[in-house]
């Protein structure tokens, strides 16, 4: 398999990984706000959707791990996946993720004081913001370079 095809597959799987993770985590966070009345059809639907997203997320996690093993086994793919572009993408995404974590932690620390958010909720929101910042910026950076042969 060519590295181009593998990157396309990995990007697509990572995109779904981000989407399902956001739905799952979003449902968990929603529960803590107590917006939906307990046992209401909406609350049950949120639980079911969150649970389905969690199962999908685990399946995608296994698929990504399998792809990672496939890359490690193939010398050409391994070399391509550690080239300048991929390293640069990881570094840039890492930097955005780092600042995403810093800014969200700072903003939520202030907000939790004003709005009285629980420590658990703040921690969950910081994780959500920083992981999203890293993965979404990686996807954007990887998807930006298109061929013009």
């Amino acid at each position: 398999m060519s590295s181009t095809l593998m990157i396309k597959r990995m990007s697509k799987t990572t995109l779904w990984y981000v989407i399902t993770w956001n739905i799952w985590f979003g449902a968990l966070i929603l529960e803590q706000f107590d917006i939906l009345p307990q046992n209401s059809p909406l609350a049950i639907a949120a639980d079911v959707i969150g649970f389905a997203a969690a199962i999908s997320w685990f399946a995608l996690l296994f698929r990504l791990s399998a792809m990672g093993r496939q890359v490690q086994k193939d010398a050409k793919l391994r070399s391509a996946f550690h080239d300048d572009f991929m390293d640069l993408a990881k570094r840039k995404a890492g930097r955005i993720g780092y600042f995403g974590a810093l800014f969200s932690a700072a903003a939520l620390a202030v907000l939790s004081d004003i709005a009285g958010l629980s420590g658990l909720l703040v921690a969950e929101l910081v994780i959500l913001a920083s992981v999203n910042a890293y993965l979404v910026s990686w996807l954007v950076f990887i998807g930006r370079e298109d061929a013009d042969d």
Partner: protein, 69 residues
């Protein structure tokens, strides 16, 4: 990382040899996205990649990369 001072003739040399970005990337052992980013001067390649490119294209490295005036 980008550097406006570094020019390159990679696209021209590749076209002269009738190579696609994909074929050149395969020969060098990098991703097609790397070749594209280097051609568009959005990324400065490492010394190893530059030497590999020169070897595959059969030219000295300074024929591909040069400092802009």
């Amino acid at each position: 990382m980008t550097d406006p001072a570094l020019g390159n003739r990679l696209k021209v040399l590749r076209a002269e040899r009738d190579l696609t970005q994909e074929a050149l990337a395969e020969a060098v052992g990098v991703t097609r996205k790397s070749i594209n980013a280097i051609e568009k001067k959005r990324m400065v390649p490492s010394v190893v990649t530059a030497l590999k490119l020169a070897s595959v294209l059969g030219v000295p490295v300074e024929e591909i990369f040069s400092l802009a005036d």
